[in-house]
């Protein structure tokens, strides 16, 4: 009996101290974490619809048993010039969350993969920048006084979606500017991202045509 109380007390003290410590750290980090998350979303919103001047509140649309989250996109005169759809699908080994900017007729403006944890080197290349910078060049540029060239911050895989209509969103394995060229070695991820773009557009347009908005 005495040992049980002793053991229980020791565990209680250790767990208690750890709990108090965690809540203290949480107090410090809660603000920055929330800030980082909203900053990531804001950046994504801007990239998925570069010509927008402001965005509406997050709205939910339930259709065909699926939920799409979307934002209205406004120009300077507060007119709706398009929408941004937030949708996630299962990829090869993680949930892939995509923000898609579309014009009212469903044409893609740009997309942004907000969250993914796919295989590094394969599926995770959806976030790879179109940098062809080699190790040698990077090494040389360390010693050259010339200012760095401005590089595009849109990953090449995601850039392919811009300007495409939903019918064009088909994954192909050989390079074809009309469709979506798959990442080599990551067809499942490529298909999943394409689905995360195409599916909400189709559902959204259908719901819009039926006057559900």
């Amino acid at each position: 009996m005495k040992t049980i109380l002793h053991y229980g007390l020791v565990l209680l003290i250790i767990a208690g101290v750890a709990g108090v410590g965690l809540s203290l750290v949480d107090r410090i980090t809660k603000g920055p974490i929330a800030e980082a998350q909203s900053k990531r979303l804001e950046e994504g919103q801007k990239l998925a619809f570069p010509s927008a001047s402001s965005f509406g509140e997050l709205k939910k649309l339930e259709t065909d048993g699926k939920t799409i989250e979307y934002y209205e996109v406004f120009d300077e005169g507060k007119n709706v010039i398009g929408y941004e759809l937030l949708y996630s699908v299962g990829g090869y080994q993680s949930r892939i969350k995509v923000l898609t900017g579309i014009e009212p007729d469903g044409k893609v403006v740009a997309i942004r993969v907000l969250e993914q944890a796919e295989t590094p080197g394969l599926g995770a290349e959806v976030d790879a920048l179109p940098s062809n910078q080699s190790l040698l060049c990077a090494f040389v540029s360390l010693f050259s006084p010339e200012p760095e060239k401005e590089e595009s911050n849109i990953p090449w895989f995601q850039a392919q979606f811009s300007g495409k209509t939903p019918e064009d969103l088909i994954v192909v394995k050989t390079k074809d500017p009309k469709h979506i060229t798959a990442l080599s070695g990551a067809t499942i991820t490529s298909t999943a991202v394409t689905k995360a773009v195409k599916e909400p557009i189709e559902l959204f347009l259908k719901a819009k045509a039926e006057g559900q908005l």
Binding site: I14, G21, V25, K30, I33, P120, G121, L122
Partner: protein, 197 residues
């Protein structure tokens, strides 16, 4: 054993990955790219050093029959702290390795060193042991990651190594991790045997 040797043993003589074969799961999982490997290595150094210190400090207070749950609480606490700090102050790093940070809780290097070393030694030695073992882990995982990223993706820290060369995709996959790990371990054994002669 001198304090300096206590620190040094984790790097070569008792390298946690290549000699003690501890922490293989995170080694295999995060050695696909240098960026992930270095992030994982640095987080392990931080968690391992502090967990060793704390466990060495509470060793007289914890009855041996319930030591494992106590160690787990300490380790889980430290990992959560590191996870929250990275998420708050280095969001880009958190996006890249956030998933792996939570895996440190079950990284057996940390529980292994707590049980085998920190629970029997004073806090200074425990801290040096943790630091050395952590650095040994970082070195081992970096070597494996360099080989895998260069051969499997033709990249190093995300920069192309040989322009226009088609990389060997399998090296990025788990099979490539096992192959590389085995070969690096073998090379280390050969070197160690030669030195002993």
């Amino acid at each position: 054993m001198s304090l300096f040797k206590e620190f040094l043993k984790g790097i070569w003589e008792k390298n946690p990955v290549l000699v003690l074969s501890l922490g293989l799961c995170p080694t295999l999982a995060t050695s696909g790219s240098m960026k992930n490997a270095v992030g994982m290595g640095l987080s392990v150094i931080a968690v391992l050093t502090f967990s060793n210190i704390i466990i060495s400090l509470i060793k007289g207070f914890v009855p041996s029959k319930i030591r494992i749950p106590c160690y787990i609480i300490v380790i889980a606490f430290l990992v959560t702290v590191v996870d929250m700090l990275i998420a708050g102050f280095a969001p880009e790093l958190s996006k890249a390795i956030g998933l792996f940070i939570k895996l440190i809780v079950v990284n057996c290097i940390i529980l292994g060193r707590a049980e085998a070393f920190a629970a029997k030694n004073n806090p200074i030695r425990a801290a040096l042991d943790g630091l050395g073992m952590g650095i040994g882990f970082l070195i081992a995982i970096s070597i494996i990651a360099t080989i895998r990223e260069v051969l499997g993706a033709n990249k190093w820290f995300g920069l192309t190594v040989v322009p226009g060369w088609d990389p060997i995709g399998i090296m990025i996959l788990p099979a490539g991790a096992l192959l590389t790990f085995g070969l690096v371990m073998a090379v280390r054994n050969v070197l160690a045997q030669r030195r002993a002669k």
